[in-house]
């Protein structure tokens, strides 16, 4: 059963950041030419892969935790409506207000209205994928409200008028020298002698944001988890910018996707072990904030929770694809992906890049709006191996490719070629003939190990992005017959 058939809407066009201007191969071609980008990404992903492997390796029950994480998420999705209703009851009972948004446009309207009601024209923000997804900053700006990103990497992206390229480290594509240059250019009053020492750069960000934290009246955050039975929200972070936003302002607005709910308090004992080790490669991240509604005399006295659908229910309708909703946004799959490491996050065109993005974005938008993403993978399976909640990303990619092919009106040249191949492979005589014909390819190769990329169409559509090996002098069956006289 698919969402299209059931009439469940996907994330609307024209708002938010789930669709790119270019297809993946076209966008990747540009980024592959950028040597600096590839060097930065190669260095950063290698660093984090090593750290993750070390801290995951020291947990003797990692497999059991991973299976429990998967099972909790599956059980949550199976009763998602009930858990959301329970969450709403609990948050409301503790002094919070719950809002529901069918899509990005509604969510942006709700948040804008809530900020306007406080009378302020600026907000501080904790890094949040959900607010990036719905394009909240742009919506607030259009309403005359300045949204200040406070996570160091988000700040780098915002000051550089750039876009995020990684779930955990949105500025992973920038190295320290480039970050220094952005700070020197855009931070008022920054020390002109600022070096590219990461410690000095972090201190510059601290000085830049300190006063903003102390004067902020409204903060906007996402949520890593929301516990249905208690109404407890959780934000996991490192720098303390999250704590500043969650603690100091009078009003806190938390925007979260409906799939972030977990049924019980105990479930956090699983995810708080899986997430930090998978994402930053730490045993525990420096700060985790947990709160339920409003606490008199401690923290924000007004709390709003905005629950956002924006295509998630359409994902839920697909029995194979719904596993993508289990994602806890650790980004381990990005860091191990050979395609991500070379193409970079921008090539995916969505705020969700890498393997998880390749299965999540096309489902949130409908396959036709992100048709190239399920093909942005070599299906090597490294993403599945590292996923802390065991999302079978390769199987969902294959499932989405099939869905894309089925959605086509006419069979393309590739489908016709595979149909012919299937016929040849099921008939020994045809197969031997085909192998003989393939031998002709050796003439085209002129002794090189691969055929030239400039084959005539439609073959060029295949060889444009792939090397076609030159056929061997003899086939296996010919060699067998020669050596064994068969």
């Amino acid at each position: 059963m698919t969402a299209v058939f059931l009439g469940i809407p996907t994330a609307p066009r024209g708002v938010g950041h789930l669709r790119g201007d270019l297809s993946f191969p076209d966008a990747a071609r540009d980024s592959l030419r950028d040597g600096q980008l590839r060097a930065n990404l190669g260095h950063a992903t290698a660093t984090i892969r090593g750290k993750r492997a070390a801290v995951v390796g020291e947990v003797p029950d990692w497999a059991e935790l991973r299976e429990a994480g998967r099972a909790i998420k599956a059980a949550t999705m199976a009763r998602l409506d009930e858990h959301l209703i329970a969450l709403e009851e609990q948050v409301t009972a503790r002094g919070g207000t719950v809002h529901w948004a069918s899509d990005a446009t509604e969510a942006n309207e709700i948040v804008t209205r809530l900020v306007q009601a406080t009378g302020t024209d600026e907000v501080v923000k904790v890094k949040s994928m959900a607010t990036q997804e719905i394009g909240l900053n742009e919506a607030l700006e259009a309403a005359g409200i300045a949204a200040h990103e406070t996570d160091l990497a988000e700040l780098i992206v915002q000051l550089g008028e750039d876009t995020p390229s990684h779930i955990l480290v949105p500025a992973i594509h920038k190295n320290r020298a480039e970050i220094r240059e952005i700070f020197l250019r855009t931070m008022p009053g920054v020390d002109p002698g600022l070096t590219d020492d990461p410690r000095k750069l972090a201190m510059a960000a601290r000085a830049h944001l300190r006063e903003r934290f102390l004067r902020a009246r409204v903060a906007i955050s996402g949520a890593n988890f929301a516990v249905a039975e208690t109404g407890t929200l959780a934000v996991v972070e490192s720098e303390g910018n999250g704590r500043m936003c969650l603690t100091l302002p009078q009003t806190l607005i938390t925007v979260m996707g409906i799939e972030k709910v977990v049924p019980t308090w105990r479930d956090l004992e699983v995810f708080l072990q899986l997430l930090p080790r998978s994402s930053t490669g730490e045993r525990m991240n420096p700060y985790t904030s947990l709160w339920a509604g409003v606490t008199p005399g401690d923290g924000p006295q007004e709390f709003h929770l905005v629950l956002v659908d924006n295509g998630r229910t359409a994902v839920l309708a697909d029995e194979v694809g719904r596993e993508a909703l289990h994602c806890i946004r650790c980004s381990a799959c990005l860091n191990v992906c050979p395609v991500y490491e070379r193409a970079g996050g921008h090539a995916y065109g969505s705020v969700y890049p890498g393997p998880i993005g390749a299965v999540l974005s096309p489902q949130l938008t409908g396959i036709e709006d992100n048709a190239s993403l399920p093909y942005a993978s070599s299906l090597c399976g490294a993403c599945y191996d590292v996923c802390p909640v065991a999302i079978d990303i390769p199987s969902i990619l294959v499932h989405l490719r099939a869905e894309h092919v089925e959605a086509q009106q006419h069979a393309g040249p590739e489908a016709l070629a595979f149909r012919a191949l299937s016929k040849a492979m099921s008939n020994p005589r045809l197969w031997r003939l085909a192998q003989k014909a393939a031998g002709l390819g050796r003439f085209l190769a002129w002794g090189r190990p691969t055929l030239p990329a400039a084959l005539p169409p439609p073959a060029s559509r295949w060889t444009r992005t792939r090397d076609l090996p030159t056929p061997p002098k003899e086939t296996f069956t010919q060699a067998w017959a020669r050596e064994h006289g068969g």
Binding site: L6, G7, I8, A44, I48, D61, E64, L65, A71, A74, A75, A78, R79, D81, W100, S102, D151, L152, A153, V169, A171, P198, R199, A202, M203, L214, T232, S238, E239, G240, N241, R243, L246, T247, L248, R266, L268, E269, V270, L272, Q273, T280, E282, R283, M284, P286, Y287, T288, S289, L290, W291, A292, T295, G297, D298, G299, D309, T313, L316, R322
Partner: protein, 207 residues
């Protein structure tokens, strides 16, 4: 139709009319840690130091003096009134002349150089201290704004694993889990200690 009804209706449509009962979640991961209390203190110390926190051990009678000397090391010569303590920290454990948090507006706490609090629980395996907003832990802004944080941890508050730690906490309290000083990995994924939260974390282990 309200957005709430719309979304709940979509979920019910997506899941279909014949929902199977969700499979039982098997919790066969480690729920307890059988290492001895002494070993757990060593693990906690090792993890905290790995995050560049300073750990000092002392006897119950030496807490005030140990906190005082840790503050002198972290801050250099300072006025006793630069130090603010959570209201529930017992009088005999406070450094001389420290000011008690009197509930002034949170941002005013930024004027202090250091904070002294207790904790609700400490998790050895991950090097995590949990503050729960009680008088002993103080309100959340107290352990956030001053640049140096000193936490006094009793040996009996130390558990081995994350499940044991969470089981001791109240899910309705404003909780802050702290594992080392504030840090970032945002520049080339290299960890740098010290961003917006306290740049210095001192843990006084009372054993």
């Amino acid at each position: 139709m309200s957005a709430r009804d719309e979304i709940l209706g979509r979920i019910r449509t997506a899941l279909g009319p014949d929902r199977a009962a969700p499979a039982e979640v098997r919790r066969d991961y480690r729920l307890t840690d059988d290492r001895s209390p002494d070993e757990l203190l060593d693990v906690l110390t090792d993890r905290l130091e790995d995050y560049r926190a300073t750990v000092v051990r002392c006897a119950p009678s030496e807490v005030a003096a140990t906190v005082g000397s840790a503050l002198r090391t972290a801050l250099g010569e300072h006025s006793p009134a630069d130090v603010v303590v959570a209201p529930g920290v017992p009088a005999d454990r406070r450094p001389d002349g420290a000011v008690e948090d009197d509930g002034r507006p949170a941002v005013a706490l930024a004027g202090y150089a250091a904070t002294v609090t207790g904790v609700a629980v400490a998790i050895a395996e991950t090097g995590t201290l949990v503050l729960d907003g009680s008088p002993l832990s103080g309100r959340r802004a107290l352990s956030l704004l001053p640049d140096c944080l000193v936490c006094v941890v009793e040996a009996a508050q130390v558990v081995g694993s994350v499940p044991e730690g969470l089981a001791r906490l109240d899910p309705l309290a404003p909780l802050t889990m702290i594992s080392g000083p504030s840090a970032t990995s945002d520049i080339e994924l290299q960890r740098v200690e010290g961003v917006h939260g306290p740049r210095t974390l001192v843990v006084v282990l009372v054993a």
